[in-house]
């Protein structure tokens, strides 16, 4: 059995189920989804992605993630169903719960996979960027079960699967203990929504100064897009980490990715190379970003952004007349 584990019914769950369904078919395994949550809202949606079983562990304690109750509950359910593969999204949820689960089962865990496959023996082939994105490594867990991996959000396509008779099982949850206590939750302001934008204007240090980042926001708002950033820009505090695209930031795949003043370190490429069309704007003709771009404009990035704004603002006026 392949078991996909999450604490909510969201696009990460759909991505993982879509991919896992293919693996399960290839290896003739059953596919289960384990939802540990405070509500069964939207669980019916999961059936579109082909799980054989949906296991529900519901308790009011599960409204926000906390390691103790999630670990004790998931451990019990995994012991009962003994899946041979366990997958979870590489979110703050998956990246906290999965290492604790792996340690409890004395098994291996591969972090932040960007490709998954199974071989004829049912071994999970887990591929992830290694060593700062310089290379890709494929990792297996040959002699320990379950085989565990967290999977990078935004990498796998969401694909609906033909309807099947999904069985729903509700596992009893006894009041789970928690040594930690949640005092307060302060919601974050809706961020740049990078993952959903059709057009991303991403900025690098080639913009020369912090004030020029404003140009990216003006262009992004004109094209109803979002603003991304290289790590250098985030490290220099021109933009918050929410904007960072790349290995230690977000993975995006918009229709158009505009890399303005980004030289294109491998770490950055890891987060945007699946974009449909990549446009690179850079003064340096030899910047590595041009190797992964479809359209390359060799020019000053701030100037080019201003030029694009000027042209598209004219459109905007035109449409209002």
């Amino acid at each position: 059995m392949i078991l996909v584990l999450n604490n909510r019914v969201d696009r990460n769950s759909f991505e993982l189920l879509s991919k896992a369904r293919k693996l399960a078919d290839k290896a003739s395994m059953k596919l289960a989804f384990l939802l540990i949550s405070n509500s069964k809202k939207n669980v019916e949606e999961l059936t579109r992605f082909g799980p054989d079983v949906v296991i529900l562990a519901l308790h009011e304690r599960f409204e926000r993630f906390s390691l103790d109750p999630f670990l004790s509950t998931s451990k019990k359910i995994l012991e009962k169903h003994s899946p041979s593969i366990v997958l979870a999204p590489a979110t703050t949820f998956g990246r906290t719960l999965m290492p604790a689960l792996a340690a409890s089962f004395r098994t291996g865990l591969t972090a932040d996979c960007t490709e998954l496959d199974v071989d004829e023996k049912g071994n999970l082939l887990q591929t992830r960027p290694a060593i700062g994105g310089n290379v890709m490594a494929t990792i297996v867990t040959p002699f320990h079960r379950p085989q565990m991996a967290t999977v990078r959000p935004g990498v796998f396509e969401i694909e609906e699967h033909e309807k099947r008779d999904t069985i729903f099982i509700e596992e009893p949850v006894e009041n789970p203990e928690d040594r930690c206590q949640l005092v307060r939750v302060e919601p974050k302001q809706a961020g740049a929504k990078l993952e959903e934008a059709k057009i991303i204007v991403s900025v690098g240090k080639g913009l020369r100064k912090k004030e020029n980042v404003e140009l990216a926001f003006r262009l992004a708002s004109l094209v109803k897009g979002a603003v991304g950033a290289s790590r250098a820009v985030v490290d220099a505090r021109w933009l918050s980490h929410d904007h960072q695209v790349g290995l230690s930031g977000k993975t995006v795949k918009p229709k158009i990715y505009i890399a303005a003043g980004i030289s294109g370190a491998v770490q950055h490429l890891a987060g945007m190379q699946t974009s449909e069309i990549v446009v690179a704007i850079n003064k340096d003709r030899h910047a590595p970003i041009f190797k992964v771009a479809d359209i390359g404009i060799v020019a000053d990035a701030s100037w080019a952004l201003s030029e694009l704004i000027r042209r598209l603002e004219r459109d905007d006026d035109g449409s209002r007349q």
């Binding site: 926000r64 993630f65 390691l67 670990l71 703050t92 949820f93 990246r95 906290t96 999965m98 290492p99 604790a100 792996a102 340690a103 409890s104 004395r106 098994t107 291996g108 865990l109 591969t110 972090a111 290694a130 060593i131 700062g132 994105g133 310089n134 290379v135 890709m136 490594a137 494929t138 990792i139 297996v140 867990t141 320990h144 040594r179 930690c180 206590q181 949640l182 005092v183 302060e186 919601p187 974050k188 059709k198 094209v223 290995l247 158009i256 069309i277 990549v278 190797k291 992964v292 771009a293 479809d294 359209i295 390359g296 404009i297 060799v298 020019a299 080019a304 694009l308 042209r311 598209l312």
Partner: protein
């Protein structure tokens, strides 16, 4: 109050090489440094020690040249530095590493109220060892800690940063905190700190000292195996617009944006 900080030596990720046979890092002959995120974890511990008293111990597992990184930790305010180093540990994955570190902490009876680790290392980028270790030690864990708000005799109050919210958590001591950069800004070593580090004794142990079964660690004891390493292939055929062609490139991009906004195929 006692603080235990996990520290990892990392290579300069720009110039690393990998062993084509084992798929693991060739660490020899590379410039090494303290994992940048660990420096934030260490600074948090040192600043708390300066306020409330106590001792800061840094613990690392790695090759012998890790001594330099631990010396640097002492220059930055750590009081005690421990290195677990043995050829038998080479190639350990996160499970084997966590197991070896857990045994070291137990065997040496290292005292701590806070076990602090950086979110992840810049080389492996798994962020797993802190949590796996804490699980082996049966410690509560708060991950993605962005700020330590208050620390009392038997509790700590922290801010945790997740995708949709900041959460304030109260945890009992001892606890494991996996921290983000924002918890503390690392200081530069002072001259007196450097002097102290020169004279400091770095405690070095091997697997025999810690009574670790060599079969349980290293490549042999690791559940995961790297079976293939390959170059990430990323290249597209780029149409370059430069010099007098730049306006044409801008035109093409404007047209592309217009079509995308109109929902037309591009």
């Amino acid at each position: 109050m006692n603080f235990l900080v996990l520290v990892k030596q990392v290579p300069d990720t720009e110039k690393v090489k990998i062993d084509p046979n084992t798929g693991t890092l060739i660490r020899e002959g590379l410039d090494i440094t303290m994992n940048p995120l660990d420096a934030h974890a260490l600074e948090l511990a040192v600043s708390l020690k300066e306020k409330f008293g106590g001792r800061v111990t840094v613990l690392s597992m790695g090759p012998m040249n890790t001594v330099d990184v631990l010396r640097n930790a002492i220059a930055l305010g750590a009081d005690r530095a421990i290195l677990l180093s043995d050829a038998a540990l080479a190639g350990s994955d996160t499970w084997a590493t966590s197991l070896a570190l857990a045994k070291t902490i137990q065997e040496l009876s290292i005292q701590y109220d806070l076990l602090i680790c950086g979110e992840k290392s810049t080389d492996g980028e798994t962020g797993q060892v802190g949590i796996e270790l804490a699980t082996l030690l049966n410690l509560p864990v708060i991950s993605y800690v962005s700020e330590l708000i208050e620390i009392g005799r038997d509790f700590v109050l922290v801010r945790r940063s997740v995708e949709d919210a900041h959460e304030i958590w109260k945890a009992p001591l001892p606890v494991c905190l996996c921290v983000l950069k924002s918890v503390a800004e690392p200081r530069l070593p002072t001259l007196s700190g450097k002097k102290k580090a020169m004279d400091a004794k770095i405690e070095i142990y091997n697997v025999k000292d810690i009574k670790i079964d060599p079969e349980e660690v290293g490549l042999k004891g690791s559940p995961t195996r790297v079976v293939k390493v390959f170059n990430a292939k990323v290249s597209r055929n780029c149409t370059i617009y430069m010099d007098k062609d730049v306006p044409e490139g801008i035109n093409r991009l404007v047209e592309l944006i217009r079509r995308t906004l109109a929902g037309e195929p591009v």
